[in-house]
C-alpha cells in the first residue's frame, strides 16, 4: 500500500497548496464588493482544457497507484513466484522515451511558429508510440509462447493486467494525438492566431499526457523488474 499512500500525500500537498491561496481565512461576511481571486485575475487565465487534463491525470494516477499497490502487496506474500521479463520491454521503454521527447520538441517548435517542426515531431511521436504498443504485444506473445498464461498464477495475471491497462491509456492518447496531428497538417501557417493557439494548446496537452504515460511506465517497469522491491528492502536493511 506504500505507493497509494505516497500518491495520496502528493495529491494532498497539491490540494493544500491550492487551498492556501484561496484566502480560506477570509471573513466573507465582512467583505462587500468585488474581490478577484488571488491576484484579482478574472476571467481565469489558464486554459480550461489544461486544468481538465490535470484533474484527469490525478484520476488516472490514482488508478495506477492502486494497481501497483495491489501488485506489491501481493508480491510481499510468501508464495510469490516471478516470471521472466521479456527483453523487448527495454526497447519499448526507449520507444516511449522517444515519443515523450518528440512531443516536447513539438511543443518547442510550436512556440517558435515552426509548423514543419511540429508536424515532423508529431509524426515521430506517433510512430514510436505505435511501435511501443506493438512491442508490448510482442512481449505478450513471447510470454504466451513460453507457456506463461494469465490464469496460471497471480504474477502472470498482474503482468498482463498492468501492461494492458497502461496500453489502453496509450491507445486513448493516440486518438487525441491523431486529431492534433490532423490539425497541424491543416495549414496552420495561414490560419488566424486563434486556431494557432488551439494547435499549440493541443500539442502541449499531448506532451503532458505522454510525460505522464512515461512516468507511469517507468514506475510500472521498475516494479515488473523488481527493482522497486529491492530498493525497499535495501532501505529497510539500511534503517535497521
Amino acid at each position: 500500500m506504500g505507493i497509494i499512500v505516497i500518491f495520496m500525500v502528493l495529491i494532498a500537498a497539491v490540494a493544500f497548496w491550492w487551498l492556501s491561496r484561496q484566502r480560506l481565512t477570509a471573513k466573507p461576511w465582512l467583505e462587500v464588493g468585488i474581490i478577484g481571486d488571488v491576484g484579482g485575475r478574472w476571467p481565469p487565465t489558464l486554459p480550461k482544457a489544461k486544468i481538465g487534463l490535470g484533474v484527469f491525470l490525478a484520476v488516472a494516477g490514482s488508478l495506477f497507484a492502486l494497481l501497483v499497490s495491489a501488485y506489491s502487496m501481493r508480491m510481499a506474500m510468501v508464495d510469490w513466484r516471478t516470471l521472466p521479463v521479456p527483453a523487448v520491454l527495454w526497447l519499448n521503454t526507449i520507444l516511449l522515451i522517444l515519443a515523450s521527447v518528440a512531443l516536447q520538441t513539438a511543443v518547442a517548435a510550436g512556440r517558435r511558429d515552426d509548423f514543419g517542426g511540429v508536424r515532423s515531431s508529431l509524426l515521430v511521436a506517433y510512430a514510436s508510440s505505435l511501435a511501443f504498443l506493438f512491442g508490448q504485444v510482442l512481449a505478450w506473445g513471447e510470454l504466451v509462447a513460453a507457456g506463461y498464461f494469465a490464469a496460471d498464477n497471480p504474477a502472470n495475471a498482474f503482468f498482463y493486467l498492468i501492461t494492458a491497462i497502461h496500453g489502453a491509456h496509450v491507445l486513448g492518447g493516440l486518438v487525441a494525438l491523431i486529431r492534433t496531428t490532423a490539425r497541424a497538417f491543416d495549414g496552420p501557417e495561414t490560419s488566424p492566431p486563434r486556431t494557432i493557439g488551439e494547435l499549440r494548446l493541443g500539442v502541449e496537452l499531448c506532451a503532458i499526457y505522454w510525460h505522464f504515460l512515461l512516468l507511469v511506465w517507468l514506475v510500472l517497469f521498475s516494479f515488473l523488474m523488481h527493482w522497486a522491491n529491492d530498493l525497499v528492502s535495501f532501505c529497510r536493511a539500511a534503517l535497521t
Binding site: M1, I4, M8, I11, A12, A15, L19, Q22, R23, L24, T25, A26, K27, P28, W29, L30, E31, V32, G33, I34, I35, G36, D37, W42, P43, P44, L46, K48, I51, G52, V55, F56, A58, V59, A60, S62, L63, L66, L67, A70, M73, R74, M77, D79, A150, A151, N153, P154, A157, F158, L161, I165
Partner: protein, 584 residues
C-alpha cells in the same frame, strides 16, 4: 464593513468566453442535450426511478422478515439477491448519482454564475454512460440465474463461486455496470471540479461559494480519487470470473472438487473495496451537509453560523476519510497496532462532523424559523444524523464492533446515517429547488404529509432494529431458523417493522404523485419564492433558459448568507446586489 471595490467601476458586459453550444433540434435540446440543467434532470429522474426499484426490493425483504413464507417466491437465494441489489442501488446508483450527477449538474453552474459546465459534450456522455450502467444493472434481473447475491460488498471468493446466486451472469453484469458507472462518473466529475475551479462568475471567490457547492465539490474530488479503487477491484474480479485468473481467489475445494483457482488474496479485494467504500460514505454525506446548511440558513432567515469553520470541516472530513478505510476490517483480523491507529482516526473524524452539527444548531438558535417542507426535512436530517452518529461511535470502537458487526444493529446504524439521513436531504432539496426547475411549488399539504410519515416511519423501522441487533438477530439472514437465543417477542417486532416499511413506502408514492401533479397544478412560484440570496434564484427567467443569464453574467458582491441584515430594505441581500452607496 470593509469595502473592497477600490472604487473601480465594473465593466458592463463582462461575459466570459464561454462558447455556448446551441441546440438545433428537439432531440439535441431535450434528449442528447449538452445543457447541464437538462442533464441534471435526466440524471435525477433516472436515479429516482432506479431508487424506486430498490425501494420495492426493500419491501420484499421486509415481507420475508416480518411474514416469512407469505410471499412464496422468496427463497434464500432470492433474499440475498434482493439485499445485494437494494444496497448497491441505494448507495451508488441512487445517492451518488443524484447528489453529484443530479444536484451537481443543476446547482454548480447556476450557483456559481456560469453559463454551463466547462465541457458540455463530455457532460452529456457522462449521463448516457450512467444510463447504460443502470440498464446493465437492471438486466441482471432478467438473465438466467438472476442478479448477484454476493452482498453489496461483493467479497470474493464467495462472490464468484457456484453456490452464490447470480454466479453465472449476475456478477458479470454487476461488475460491468460498476465499471461503466465509474467511467461515466469520471466524465461528469471532471466537469464539476473544473467548473468550480474555472467557471465562477466575477467576484465569486471560493470563500463566497454557497456551502452546497463546497460539499458537492469536495465530494466529487474524493469520488474521483476513490472510485478507481472500485474500478481496479472490479476489473480484477471480472478477470477472475471470466478468464479464470486468480487475483482474489485462493485455492478452493468446493463440494469435493478442487477448483482451478489458486494463489489469490481475498484480503486484497477488501483493501481495494474499502479504500473506495469508506470515502463513499462521505461522498454521500458531504453534499448532504452542504445542502442542509443552505436550507437551514434560508428557511431560518439567518446567516450560517461559522461559515469558515463549515468550509474547513468539509475539507478536513474529505481528507481524513481516506485515512480510515481499514476500520471496516476489524473483523478480518489485523495487526492490533494498526487497529488502534485506525480506531483513533475514526474517532478524530467525529470532531469536524460534530462541529458541523453545532453550527447548524447555532444557526437555528433564535432564527426566524419557517416550518416549510424543506426546513422540516432539514431538521429531520439533523435529528436522524445525530442519532445515527451516536450509534456509530459505538461501532467505531474495535471491541464493540466485533460482536455487533454481523447483526441488525449495524443495519440499523448505517440506514440511519447513510440511508435515511441523506434521503431526508434529497427530499428537502427537491422541495426547495423544484420551483426553480418548473416555476411551480410542490403541494404543501402533501409535502407535510410526506415528511411526517417518512420521518416517524423511519424511526418506527430502524429504532426497533437496534434492539433486534442487541438481541443478536443476524443480518443477511432470510429466516431465523431455530435460533434459541432470540426471544419470540422479536418476531412481533419484525412484523411491526415490516408494516411501518410498507407505510413509508406508500408515502414515497404520494411524493412521486406530487412531483407530476404540481408540474401542472402547483402554485406558480415566481423566480425566488424562498427569498434566497444565492445566484440560482436571481436568474432573469424561471425556469432558467439555455445559457442561464441572458446577455450579462452576474457579478458577485457578497457572500451567500446575507439574511436579516440590519438596515437593509428586505430581509435578504442577493449575492449579486451591489453594495449600497455610502452616505457621507
Amino acid at each position: 464593513m470593509v469595502d473592497v471595490t477600490h472604487g473601480v467601476a465594473v465593466p458592463v458586459a463582462e461575459v466570459g468566453d464561454v462558447e455556448l453550444y446551441h441546440p438545433r433540434s428537439w432531440v439535441t435540446k431535450y434528449v442528447f442535450s449538452q445543457d447541464a440543467k437538462v442533464i441534471a434532470i435526466q440524471y435525477s429522474l433516472t436515479a429516482l426511478s432506479i431508487g424506486l426499484v430498490a425501494l420495492v426490493l426493500s419491501w420484499l425483504m421486509r415481507m420475508q422478515l416480518g411474514f416469512p413464507g407469505l410471499l412464496s417466491f422468496i427463497n434464500a437465494d432470492r433474499y440475498y439477491q434482493f439485499v445485494t441489489m437494494h444496497g448497491m442501488i441505494m448507495v451508488i446508483y441512487l445517492l451518488t448519482a443524484l447528489f453529484l450527477g443530479g444536484f451537481g449538474n443543476y446547482l454548480i453552474p447556476l450557483m456559481l454564475g456560469a453559463r454551463d459546465m466547462v465541457f458540455p459534450y463530455v457532460n452529456m456522455l457522462s449521463y448516457w454512460i450512467y444510463l447504460l450502467a443502470v440498464l446493465v444493472l437492471v438486466a441482471g434481473f432478467f438473465v438466467p440465474g438472476g442478479p448477484t447475491g454476493a452482498g453489496w460488498t461483493l467479497y470474493p471468493p464467495q462472490a464468484i463461486l457456484a453456490n452464490t446466486p447470480g454466479q453465472q451472469w449476475g456478477i458479470i453484469l454487476m461488475l460491468v455496470s460498476l465499471m461503466l458507472f465509474i467511467i461515466g462518473f469520471t466524465m461528469g466529475g471532471l466537469n464539476y471540479v473544473v467548473t468550480v475551479l474555472q467557471g465562477r462568475a466575477r467576484g465569486m471567490t471560493m470563500m463566497r461559494m454557497p456551502l452546497t457547492v463546497w460539499g458537492i465539490f469536495t465530494a466529487t474530488v474524493m469520488a474521483l480519487l476513490a472510485f478507481p479503487a472500485l474500478f481496479v477491484g472490479s476489473v480484477m474480479m471480472l478477470l477472475d470470473r471470466v478468464l479464470g485468473t486468480s487475483f482474489f481467489m485462493p485455492s478452493i475445494v468446493l463440494m469435493g472438487e478442487q477448483l482451478k483457482y489458486g494463489g489469490g488474496s481475498p484480503i486484497l479485494f477488501q483493501h481495494l473495496f474499502w479504500f473506495f467504500g469508506h470515502p463513499e460514505v462521505y461522498i454521500v454525506a458531504l453534499p448532504a451537509f452542504g445542502i442542509v446548511s443552505d436550507l437551514i440558513s434560508t428557511h431560518a432567515r439567518k446567516n450560517i453560523f461559522g461559515y469558515r469553520m463549515m468550509v474547513w470541516a468539509i475539507v478536513a472530513i474529505g481528507a481524513l476519510s481516506f485515512v480510515v478505510w481499514a476500520h471496516h476490517m476489524y473483523v478480518s483480523g489485523m495487526n492490533p497496532g494498526f487497529g488502534f491507529f485506525f480506531a483513533t482516526t475514526t474517532l478524530i473524524i467525529a470532531i469536524p462532523t460534530a462541529i458541523k452539527v453545532y453550527n447548524w444548531v447555532l444557526t437555528l438558535w433564535r432564527g426566524d424559523i419557517h416550518f416549510t417542507v424543506p426546513m422540516l426535512f432539514a431538521l429531520g436530517f439533523i435529528v436522524t444524523f445525530v442519532n445515527g452518529g451516536l450509534t456509530g461511535l459505538f461501532l467505531g470502537n474495535v471491541v464493540v464492533d466485533v460482536p455487533l458487526s454481523r447483526t441488525m444493529f449495524v443495519v440499523a446504524h448505517f440506514h440511519m446515517v447513510m440511508g435515511i439521513a441523506p434521503i431526508m436531504v434529497i427530499f428537502g432539496a427537491i422541495y426547495h429547488w423544484y420551483p426553480k426547475l418548473t416555476g411551480r411549488m410542490l403541494d404543501d399539504t402533501l409535502g407535510k404529509l410526506h415528511f411526517w410519515v417518512t420521518f416517524v416511519g423511519a424511526y418506527a423501522i430502524f429504532f426497533p432494529m437496534h434492539y433486534l441487533g442487541l438481541l443478536g438477530v443476524p443480518r443477511r439472514y432470510y429466516e431465523m431458523g431455530e435460533t434459541a437465543f432470540v426471544p419470540p417477542s422479536a418476531h412481533t417486532l419484525n412484523e411491526f417493522i415490516t408494516i411501518a416499511a410498507l407505510i413509508v413506502g406508500a408515502a414515497q408514492l404520494a411524493f412521486v404523485f406530487n412531483l407530476f401533479w404540481s408540474l401542472r397544478h402547483g402554485r406558480p412560484s415566481g423566480g425566488n419564492p424562498w427569498r434566497a440570496t444565492t445566484l440560482e434564484w436571481q436568474t432573469p427567467e424561471t425556469p432558467p433558459t439555455h445559457g442561464n443569464w441572458g446577455k450579462e453574467l452576474p457579478v458577485v458582491y457578497r457572500w451567500a448568507y446575507d439574511y436579516s441584515v440590519p438596515g437593509a430594505a428586505e430581509d435578504f441581500l442577493p449575492q449579486n446586489q451591489p453594495p449600497m452607496p455610502r452616505t457621507p
